[in-house]
């Protein structure tokens, strides 16, 4: 290697190593290999099982969480890359014992059947309204297309999103 190269960058792994994750406002030190996805860290290590593993290849959206306030797919995110960032899951969406308006709207509108995709749908839907792409049903469908519902509860999901949009003035 060139002697003028910058100081060597520390390389970690492949064995387990301490990884500091901030999830729902709480800091956790986990022993993780670098290959562990954020989804597996949440579900298997932190026992936050609200985020679901559907496809594990970025197709279905069931694992949608927020990193630094933006919706991402936890299955394609390596946990170690989230050090120093804020992770929010469905468990952190509202204070304990309360429901976020989007959660309440999903209940009111019966916006799910089996429920497997629901956490991802809700985490995506809240951001959809912040992003301002819920003007009509076509726009909602387009910007929610990364969240698949095998039960095809889409009409009710859109209705729930419309309710929150109309109540909040977002979207």
């Amino acid at each position: 290697m060139d002697v003028h190269a910058p100081a060597a960058v520390p390389v970690r792994g492949p064995a387990e190593m301490p990884v500091v994750l901030t999830v729902n406002g709480r800091e956790h030190v986990l022993e993780l290999e670098p290959r562990v996805s954020l989804l597996d860290a949440l579900r298997e290590h932190l026992r936050l099982t609200g985020s679901k593993k559907g496809c594990d290849q970025g197709t279905c959206g069931a694992c949608t969480v927020w990193v630094d306030g933006r919706r991402v797919l936890a299955c394609l995110t390596l946990a170690v890359t989230c050090e120093g960032r804020e992770v929010t899951t469905i468990e952190g969406l509202a204070p304990d014992g309360q429901l976020h308006p989007m959660q309440q709207a999903f209940i009111d509108r019966d916006a799910f059947q089996c429920g497997y995709c629901t956490a991802g749908q809700i985490m995506s839907a809240v951001k959809l309204l912040e992003e301002g792409h819920a003007g009509d049903d076509a726009e909602i469908a387009e910007f929610m297309s990364g969240n698949i519902c095998r039960c095809a509860a889409y009409p009710n999901i859109r209705a729930a999103i419309r309710d929150v949009r109309d109540a909040s003035g977002e979207g």
Binding site: V11, D56, G58, L73, T77
Partner: protein
């Protein structure tokens, strides 16, 4: 998933030096392709060098042109008012690709380097010259509905999947890199390599060479540009055929045209033959169809994807027609 080592870098020089020093390492940006392919066993780096902390996420105004940082995210670039105003086809292509979650993660540099969706490449089992050079091509006699009809070879017919790259080739974008040998500016025409006899070589980047920005040169014509995408479902799917088009018309005659195709080429396909046919021609659907036919004369369809020839011809005519209507003519 195979074990991985991990390093996080904070400056471009450190990123380049770290990857250049280890032939089994790779840059990690948004990870939407990289992590997926590692999990499938198709990509096999032993070390990932996380470049997300590098200061490469801005879109800089160059006066008339734009310099898009390689770590700018698809979702942000799609909404940048300067991109929307000056290169609407770029914004449209970005928003018609992937899903919002993936667009939030995926970087511009990574988008340029994304790998084909050919199922034989991705299954890690079938013969695939792109994945295992010399092993053959299962797509040639396999299911080839999504495969390329332009730029193919007997070694590979995999389609390049990027939407973004289609308007970028139409607008002569320039890829800026920093590598072990210094900095380079690569015209995007030279960035994408047709498969030929070496389908495993997709671009001219050296190991450790990092894309730091994509430059969109000044092109007033692009203000009236558009991107059309046709696919098996309405959203969240790769293109069967897509078109980036920009046309200027004076006195009913085409005075300037840019045209590129996605979903049909082994590389994002600049339709230069069609552009030549358009220049000086009446801006009519008949002449647009003739230009499309000229471009598609070299097509090498297979039974499964022969429909792409007609679909591409129609998409070109529609794209040019709408570009004339919406563009500054």
């Amino acid at each position: 998933m195979r074990p991985l080592r991990y390093a996080r870098v904070t400056d471009v020089e450190g990123a380049v030096a770290t990857v250049a020093a280890d032939p089994d390492s790779a840059f990690l940006a948004g990870g939407t392709t990289e992590v997926d392919l590692i999990r499938l066993g198709v990509a096999r780096p032993s070390t990932l060098v996380d470049i997300n902390a590098l200061p490469l996420a801005d879109v800089d105004d160059l006066g008339a042109g734009l310099r898009i940082g390689a770590l700018a995210r698809m979702s942000d670039v799609a909404r940048d008012p300067r991109v929307v105003a000056r290169y609407p086809a770029v914004a449209e292509a970005l928003l018609l690709g992937a899903s919002e979650q993936l667009r939030t993660m995926a970087s511009i540099g990574g988008n340029l380097c994304q790998r084909t969706r050919c199922p034989y490449f991705r299954d890690d089992v079938s013969p695939c010259n792109k994945r295992e050079p010399g092993s053959g091509c299962a797509a040639l006699d396999g299911i080839s509905r999504g495969h390329a009809i332009l730029g193919t070879s007997e070694h590979c017919i995999a389609t390049h999947p990027s939407d973004l790259a289609v308007p970028l080739v139409a607008f002569d974008a320039i890829v800026h890199t920093v590598g072990p040998a210094g900095t380079r500016m690569i015209p995007i025409d030279d960035f994408y390599l047709a498969p030929g006899t070496t389908p495993e070589v997709e671009h001219p980047l050296a190991h450790g060479e990092l894309i730091v920005a994509v430059e969109l040169p000044p092109l007033p014509l692009a203000q009236g540009s558009l991107y059309l995408k046709y696919r098996d479902r309405q959203s969240y799917e790769f293109a069967l055929v897509s078109v980036a088009a920009a046309v200027a018309v004076e006195d009913g005659v085409v005075s300037a045209a840019r045209l590129a195709l996605g979903g049909v080429g082994t590389v994002p396909w600049r339709a230069r033959l069609a552009e030549q046919h358009l220049l000086g021609a009446p801006a009519t659907p008949e002449r647009f169809a003739a230009a499309a036919a000229a471009e598609l004369a070299a097509a090498t369809p297979r039974p499964d994807n022969a429909f792409k020839v007609a679909l591409a011809r129609r998409a070109i005519v529609r794209g040019l027609t709408r570009a004339v209507e919406g563009g500054r003519s």
